[in-house]
Symmetry: C2
Subunit: 162 residues, 2 copies
């Protein structure tokens, strides 16, 4: 197990597949290789920055960081990398925050559920078959052909409840 300090999101260790930046990068390399897509230096760097932040991070915060080491970076630099990472399931967009987090289990089958702590800003991704299937069932009953879903929950994490 990687060092604890690398993963301060300790409120649900049991769900964690990827515990640190290194794990995430290794997994990303593996997935991109399997898919035959290119994890270019910029894409990799953005992924690392997202994982290093340990919190949802916005596109312009990523831009500020990558500019330090990559002077020519501009908004498209970041958004292109994000599009790629999201398309291949390595990163999720948090709609309610306009921010991004690393997917904790790239390739997961069920729709992720994002839990957002309103106090500390920390985020946990849960993948639950039952919730996804319940939604799929209900929408199918309406004749709606489901292609994707986004579930975001706000509240207070165990740590912040004291």
């Amino acid at each position: 197990m990687p060092p604890e300090k690398d993963n301060p999101r300790a409120w649900d260790k049991s769900h964690y597949h990827l515990a640190c930046v290194e794990d995430a990068v290794a997994k990303a390399h593996q997935i991109c290789s399997e898919k035959g897509v290119r994890l270019t230096p910029t894409r990799l760097r953005i992924l690392e920055l997202i994982w290093r932040s340990h919190k949802p991070i916005g596109a312009y915060a990523l831009l500020d960081e990558i500019k330090l080491e990559h002077k020519s970076a501009a908004p498209p630099t970041v958004y292109r990398a994000l599009d790629f990472l999201i398309e291949h399931g390595l990163v999720h967009r948090i709609q309610s925050l306009n921010a991004f987090v690393g997917c904790n289990d790239p390739g997961h089958v069920y729709s992720g559920i994002i839990l957002i702590c309103n106090d500390c800003g920390d985020v946990l991704e849960m993948d639950d078959a039952k919730i996804s299937e319940t939604i799929a069932l209900y929408t199918n009953n309406l004749g709606f052909q489901l292609s994707s879903q986004s579930i975001e929950a706000n509240g207070t994490c165990p740590g912040c409840r004291g």
Copy 2:
């Protein structure tokens, strides 16, 4: 039942509590009265414009419309009204679209689920106890105190499936 043309979202009539602008306005007056809050002319007008659009509508589209009749309107005019309408459950924000729809059943107990048709852009709000409760159950098991949730699903509506 109000005229059909007022409600082109015909793919799930059974779920509709409010079928037209007039219903929505009447219900809004009732709710604001009960709560002792003021449904001012601007707030009412924004609510009507949202309901009249029959689709999710963005803040700046609302601004364009209200400017026609209210020359001094500016972004804060619209955002303040939206904040009020959302706070009192009369309107929902669709995170993935940065757009707004009228709540079909103001005061509903369970979290609404927004179904978005990728073809026609139409939206349906479903309120389902089971889904909300399933999410609440799972998050509680993690020690997470749930305060709100946002569920948005994308897919194809029955009409667009042909």
